[in-house]
């Protein structure tokens, strides 16, 4: 039986404030264990939290970028449970009065736009980290107290692929707003999913399971695909789905139930008496709104309309803010949108990938890339030579003209010089000439190749072509 898939995602995002949410310890990732801790984030007796204003504003910024409504009044609650990396014995979160509600993200699935609604966004503090050894566990509280937002969707997602697309779009938007590093590998973006199946046409939700530990785009899709398969199997066999929390095991490629004891939660939420309510005025909201940059959707539209880029190019280039910024910076030096797009999307991406690098680490400045494309357009270098130049630029960070000069890569466009060479090649290739005359046009290519070889690729290919035809056809 074919069933409809119902997925809702809860995403935790660490905000990139300088200090923690309730104390002044550094919120920077890493560091020796338990060195970014103080009496407050160690939950020593008598300590009290003081709310970091920047955390509130980052959360507001994210919420506005995700089309949410900021509520006029938000209150922290204590979420009570015991865990060694939770120093206070409760997480300070927002339950009854969250920061924001009713947002959405539009994603493109097979060319169609799908709207995934966001139910709520709230602020909370992160827990520490536990390292599990064979006979004991070790606790590091450097992360305890780093500000988090939790973004909860409505159960609007209809496939594991949509889940991945939602998460990719969410990451892009959050990166655009610069409220988080969104580094999944460092845990600054983490995702849990609720998933259930139901017969098509039914308006009743089936029993759901919760999958934790979906910590990469790949595991979001794979984990959910596995769980769809598992639930379908179970239902086909007439079994009932047990409402439970599962852990995605990336190595084994399966979801495993978490121990039921950990699961028997009764969080006993109640308002945190040590923190006063946050009242958010329209004025404040507008001040934060004014700091939001152009977001992926409108930038995409603009790239298509203003630069005449194909939708595919515009989508790839706007998917991440650094790439879009880089692209537009290049345009300042070389106003040829499609040519720049090709070099960024094809050549630059390939080199970054091959070298396992981020754009931020790239040595080629937008100005240099712009200059290089100009050199091609002016005929100073051939497109072929440009690839060599580009690789060199990528390695050394030198400008294209420096490399061209140093290596003597200037294109030979001197007709007299080339004509002599072409005549020699024609004279040395009687078989090719004969083939050509017998209608084998391929032979022409061979002779062009010979000329390029002689000039180490520096000959202007168009000119070579023209000269060959002149000589052969006469």
């Amino acid at each position: 039986m074919d069933r409809e898939i119902i997925i809702g995602l809860e995403t935790h995002v660490e905000l990139k404030t300088k200090s923690k949410i309730f104390c002044s310890c550094s919120a920077q990732f890493g560091g020796e264990p338990n060195t970014n801790t103080c009496p407050r984030c160690l939950a020593m007796p008598g300590t009290l939290p003081v709310l970091n204003k920047q955390a509130v504003e980052f959360a507001m910024k994210a919420a506005l970028a995700l089309n949410c409504e900021i509520l006029p009044f938000c209150v922290f609650d204590r979420k009570n449970y015991f865990y060694p990396d939770l120093p206070k014995g409760f997480q300070t979160s927002q339950y009854t009065y969250p920061l924001a509600r009713n947002g959405y993200i539009d994603i493109k699935v097979n060319g169609k736009t799908r709207r995934i609604r966001i139910n709520r966004i709230h602020l909370e503090d992160d827990a520490g980290k536990s390292i599990h050894e064979k006979n004991y566990s070790l606790v590091d509280l450097n992360r305890a107290g780093v500000p988090l937002i939790e973004i909860v969707t409505e159960p609007d997602i209809r496939s594991p692929e949509e889940a991945r697309l939602y998460l990719e779009k969410l990451k892009a938007i959050l990166e655009y707003t610069e409220v988080s590093d969104c580094r999944m590998e460092e845990g600054s973006l983490r995702c849990d999913a609720n998933i259930s199946l139901r017969p098509f046409g039914s308006d009743k939700l089936g029993t759901k399971t919760e999958i934790k530990n979906l910590n990469s785009f790949r595991s979001v899709q794979r984990g959910l695909e596995y769980e769809v398969w598992r639930q379908n199997q179970a239902l086909d066999n007439g079994e009932e789905i047990v409402q439970e929390t599962l852990q995605w095991d990336e190595d084994l490629g399966v979801t495993v139930p978490m121990r039921s004891k950990e699961e028997a939660h009764d969080y006993r939420y109640f308002p945190e008496p040590d923190l006063v309510p946050t009242v958010i005025t329209e004025e404040w909201i507008e001040a934060v709104r004014s700091t939001i940059p152009e977001l992926p959707d409108s930038r995409f539209k603009r790239f298509v309309e203003e630069y005449g880029l194909p939708e595919y190019d515009a989508e790839v280039l706007t998917a991440s803010r650094p790439v879009a910024d880089y692209y537009e910076a290049c345009l300042k030096f070389c106003p040829d949108p499609k040519a720049v797009s090709n070099w960024v999307m094809v050549d630059l991406f390939a080199l970054l990938k091959a070298n396992n690098m981020e754009l931020a680490d790239c040595l080629i400045s937008p100005e240099n890339l712009g200059e290089m494309i100009k050199l091609i357009k002016e005929g100073t270098i051939s497109s072929k030579i440009a690839k060599t130049v580009f690789e060199e630029m990528f390695k050394t960070g030198k400008t294209a003209s420096t490399i061209v000069e140093e290596k003597g890569l200037v294109q030979i466009s001197d007709e007299g010089e080339l004509r002599a060479l072409v005549e020699r090649v024609v004279a040395e290739s009687p078989k090719s000439v004969e083939d050509y005359k017998n209608g084998k046009k391929k032979a022409l290519g061979f002779m062009v190749g010979q000329v390029m070889k002689e000039t180490k690729g520096k000959a202007n290919p168009q000119l070579v072509n023209k000269l060959l035809l002149e000589i052969l056809d006469n």
Binding site: P39, A43, P45, G46, V50, K88, D266, L275
Partner: protein, 493 residues
């Protein structure tokens, strides 16, 4: 009189006139501690070396001819739930028996800035949960007026130490009466300021929305002096209120003419001892004779204060106690095979019965299916009680009431019956529920045991409160009486 029997303001005069040194005063206090502490048990720990060092610094300042603040060189005792950097802070619990905070509470910083001499940490009910200091994991403190009786609680150690002249002044904390009730039982002055006037940073939380640090002193003048030191906004405590600095000694005016005093009838309900009632009503007459206008008033929701307090305080406590898990500090069970066992054994062995009882009750009140019926209900009734007070303070300046239904009870008398013990707080919790300032001052005796008069005022009206208390004190003799415990000379200060 011996130096340790004097008040802070008297000792300050003697210090600046170079009649005595801070060292002399400190010595007198430690001699007294040596004399009585074996029996009285007011302290958990004394800090003799630190005290002499601080006294020495004050003496040097005086010798250099520098001005010294009013509490410089004055011995002070701190309730053992107030964190002191490098000095054990135990909350009289096995859980924190070995805990040494790496930081000072804000009030301790202020005390140190003012060069008061810290003599030690006083005994208390475990984590401030109790009304007799009998829930201390170490030992009960005795009442110097009658050592078979309790000193009250939870700041029983601080109150007993002041009453027995083992210190000059002390700090306590008041969540449901924990300063006022022991002050009343020990015949000293105890003030709980408005919620938010004194920083709670570094004061180990029992019930966060009620906890407030306050003073225990031998008279109202010392109360104003000590409040001057500890009051003030603190950016480390977001519930601390931003207000202009007040000099509370300016409120020490011997005059209540034209002040409106309300006598809320619900404080005089069934269960109030007739002699206590009589003493309080006579106090009203004293103030009337001084020119105050008195009228009977009503707080219709007052009888709901104690159940409201129980639910909210215990719910907050259940979460505040969750950090004691044997991982980062504090007691840890010697044997635990897994994590759950570590938690359960650590907490069961580390906490005493009363703490466990309150954690259980608070956890129950917050758990699924009970939140609305208990916790939310109590929060709503809290609104009604607060509104009662707001209405009344439109009509009167202060309220006069008893502090406790009766004088100090006997050790062991109520310790096995939690509800009866809770009921001894019924007249003090309303001020905590509404966040009001309230003071207890001596106003009479029953069978040789002191009776306390409670004065309540609206938010931030500590000055009015002190004015009334001061006037009462100037025109009565109750505060001059000392327990005559082990050679106290008593008499006039």
């Amino acid at each position: 009189m011996k130096l340790n029997e004097l008040t802070a303001h008297r000792l300050h005069e003697m210090l600046i006139n170079r009649e005595v040194s801070a060292r002399d005063i400190t010595e007198a206090v430690f001699n007294r501690i040596d004399e009585v502490e074996d029996e009285l048990k007011a302290y958990v720990r004394t800090t003799k070396d630190l005290a002499y060092q601080q006294a020495e610094e004050v003496d040097q300042k005086i010798q250099r001819g520098e001005n010294i603040p009013p509490l410089a060189g004055i011995p002070i005792a701190l309730k053992d739930n107030i964190c002191t950097k490098g000095v054990h802070t135990t909350c009289s619990s096995k859980m924190l028996e070995n805990f040494i905070p790496p930081y000072d509470a804000t009030v301790v910083e202020k005390i140190k800035e003012n060069s008061a001499v810290i003599v030690g940490k006083t005994n208390m009910d475990e984590f401030a949960m109790g009304s007799s200091t009998e829930t201390s994991a170490f030992y009960p403190t005795k009442n110097p007026w009658d050592i078979t009786r309790v000193p009250g609680g939870s700041s029983g150690g601080s109150a007993a130490a002041v009453a027995a002249d083992e210190t000059i002044v002390a700090l306590g904390s008041d969540t449901g009466g924990s300063i006022r009730q022991p002050a009343a039982f020990c015949g000293v002055v105890g003030l709980k300021p408005t919620y938010g006037v004194v920083s709670r940073y570094g004061v180990v939380a029992y019930a966060s929305s009620f906890d407030q640090v306050g003073t225990i002193t031998k008279d109202v003048t010392d109360c104003a002096l000590l409040l001057n030191v500890i009051a003030g906004h603190d950016s480390n405590d977001t519930t601390s209120v931003k207000r202009e600095k007040v000099d509370y000694t300016k409120a020490l005016i011997d005059n209540v003419k034209g002040l409106k005093i309300g006598v809320p009838k619900e404080y005089f309900a069934e269960g109030l001892d007739p002699e206590v009632e009589k003493a309080v009503l006579e106090s009203v007459e004293v103030l009337k004779s001084m020119g105050a206008q008195c009228e009977e008033v009503s707080l219709p929701h007052l009888k709901y204060a104690l159940p409201t307090y129980c639910i909210i305080a215990m719910a907050e406590a259940s979460a505040n106690m969750a950090r004691y898990d044997g991982i980062r500090y504090g007691y840890r069970t010697p044997e635990a095979s897994d994590l759950i066992e570590l938690y359960k054994k650590t907490r069961s062995e580390g906490f005493g019965n009363e703490v466990k009882r309150r954690i259980m009750l608070g956890t129950y009140a917050l758990s699924t299916g009970h939140y609305d019926a208990y916790y939310l209900k109590a929060q709503k009734v809290r609104t009604l009680i607060k509104q009662d007070f707001e209405e009344i303070f439109k009509k009167v300046d202060v309220l006069l009431a008893p502090v406790t239904p009766d004088v100090a009870f006997r050790l062991g008398e109520k310790v096995d019956d939690p509800l009866t013990m809770y009921l001894t707080d019924s007249l003090t919790v309303p001020a905590n529920i509404a966040g009001l300032p309230a003071i207890s001052i001596p106003c009479g005796f029953k069978e040789g045991m002191p009776i306390g008069l409670q004065i309540l005022a609206k938010h931030f009206a500590e000055a009015t409160l002190l004015q009334v208390a001061y006037t009462f004190e100037r025109n009565t003799d109750f505060h001059r009486r000392k327990p005559n415990y082990k050679g106290q000379e008593g008499g006039k200060n």
